[in-house]
Point group: C2
Chain length 419, copies 2
Amino acid sequence: MAGKNVFYAQSGGVTAVINASACGVIEAARKNRKFGKVLAGRNGIIGALREELVDTSLETKQAIRGLRYTPSGAFGSCRYKLQSALEAPAEYERLIAVFKAHDIGYFFYNGGGDSQDTANKVAAYSQAVGYPITCIGIPKTVDNDLPYTDCCPGFGSVAKYVAVSTREAGLDVASMAESSTKVFVLEVMGRHAGWIAAAAGLAKDHPQAPPHIILFPEIAFDKQVFLDKVKATVKKVGFCVIVASEGAQYADGSFVADAGLKDAFGHTQLGGVAPSLVDMIKLEHGFKCHWSVADYLQRAARHIASATDVAQAYAVGEAAVEFAAAGKNAVMPIIVRGKGKKYTWSIGEVALSKVANVEKKMPRGYITRDGFGITPRGRDYLAPLIAGEDYPPYKDGLPDYVRMTNQLVQRKLPRFAVE
Amino acid sequence: MAGKNVFYAQSGGVTAVINASACGVIEAARKNRKFGKVLAGRNGIIGALREELVDTSLETKQAIRGLRYTPSGAFGSCRYKLQSALEAPAEYERLIAVFKAHDIGYFFYNGGGDSQDTANKVAAYSQAVGYPITCIGIPKTVDNDLPYTDCCPGFGSVAKYVAVSTREAGLDVASMAESSTKVFVLEVMGRHAGWIAAAAGLAKDHPQAPPHIILFPEIAFDKQVFLDKVKATVKKVGFCVIVASEGAQYADGSFVADAGLKDAFGHTQLGGVAPSLVDMIKLEHGFKCHWSVADYLQRAARHIASATDVAQAYAVGEAAVEFAAAGKNAVMPIIVRGKGKKYTWSIGEVALSKVANVEKKMPRGYITRDGFGITPRGRDYLAPLIAGEDYPPYKDGLPDYVRMTNQLVQRKLPRFAVE
């Protein structure tokens, strides 16, 4: 007889490899008779509250295998944070009611710090109300800001995308600079931490290679120092490639992106850090500039995913099932880096209570003293995370990503309103 | 005894595969004793005027092979248009002087319409002054706007990048739309023609799949019709993915990108079409939006190049040498599409005089009647051009692109000032 069902949900901003974690969960659970069906939340935790549960047992083996190479959230994700059970008891009651109604004994929550906090609260609440749910967190975030784990699944692939794009765009600017564009700015994600921007530094394969300037949220932006560095770089190298975190900010905490642009109606516009920097450079130096904003392209770019990242994303999904099978609760699998010179990794674990709402900052020692680049230590940390290619299959020139049929299980409860 | 030397130059905006054409030229010329050395212009035609000639015979066979998978212009390109010989005789005299001094009998010019015009003028001028140079054009442009050739080397790869990125970002938005971003705008190149934006349409694999709206420069932008379509799409599909040509424009020819934004000093800013559209959508509908500007990333993205495009880029380079060997002059190799249902292509030729300064527009029949998508005819034209993957080699997680040593041949002439 199969055991209790599993509820799996994706949470927050999606990544190129979050579905690889889903693949790990579903494939491992299908193999283990301790588990019943894996029910996935349609649009994450909202799906549990609304009793919209995708029955993944109706998907073929091939479709589930395809999750490994399909980016973004196959069952839908959401930005929805449960309050504490004290503030919002109705939501917790509802969750438990849905879990009971569908014989769910396991909750695997695939997300960042907020989600781990939620999983931890659900574990405690379910215990308190006498319907204990085994809650396992599965780490995911392009921001690489979860503590304890050496890195976060999702980060390695966005890092690879940014490093590859920087190298490629850098070659473009280099070949045009004599008579045309002299400055190129690439804006990347990272509102609070510069991990993603730092990855661009991996593209630098000789002292004059791009990127020449990286702007981190951790380093206060000094306009004049920046403009001087741009000028000096163009003079020395002939051109200048800049990679800027969207969260680049002045010493007072105001964002560089908020350049004070106003539209025809006088409304202030958040223009993006790239165009803001370009405006400054044009005004001061008159250089011809180009700029790019990678936005979702960077975190959805499964076509250039890191093989290391894909393997780790799969492994943490698989480990969640193994942890649950072993009777563990309120924990999260983490990536542990081996001590040797050659990069190795294994799966470890940490209590959810320790992870919840703690942000891992980038060590200052990863950033060069001038604040514009990464140090050898930073490079040593980052380089293995982008190693290896893991191409999806193609059909007619395009990645042949899978699409779930996403059939919902029959409702058993009255409706519940979720804003 | 080896024949006369070849002068090869890259011109205008570079592409992911222009070096594949260079590879075709150099490999073919090395095999044929009719040709001496291939000398490449450092920064394109400027290199000829300045007598800065890269001696490609000093590069290893492996390095030259590596050009096939290395994006952008390995010898440097330029935006520099020669005037007519009547307006600027000094430049033509100089070119011929440099060609004479370095025993150059062949000029292969790798560029767009302007460059083919220049190559044609050089052919005529050299004839007139009694030092006839064999001039062969080699087509290149991401804009796909050269006439006679079925497509332009460089376009297939940018098309593939845009189609892949649209599919990937579309999956991202789809998975977040329930509680977060509802609209995503991707801005792509194409100031005068919508070929690149059209390629995004290849990502649409079912009627509700992204992209939902493509904005072409060929179709007058009607703000209200656009905003209504966005709203209807969000209502029907749950989200809306828009791919916009940078050249999207109103009926009066003014660019959508010129949204009338002003900076802190009151200067008007050209903000990019993506942020301009997002401003409109937010103001009218209040949807949460994200946007991306691909810019150089799209045309430098050799990591996701079209195998068809790479093969064609190589073939037109090789054909230029074969044409010259066969005694042809003032012609350009073109891609000829086979008549059958299955896509085939071969190399044809056209006189430079016919190509020069003629722009190929996208047929109206490739665009749907509502102006927001591509028709089956458009799809039939575009689909084969992105077919096949041709991955570069990787080292440490990054494409291992080659770098030329770019050693210049000894000068023989006095300096010549080029602005």
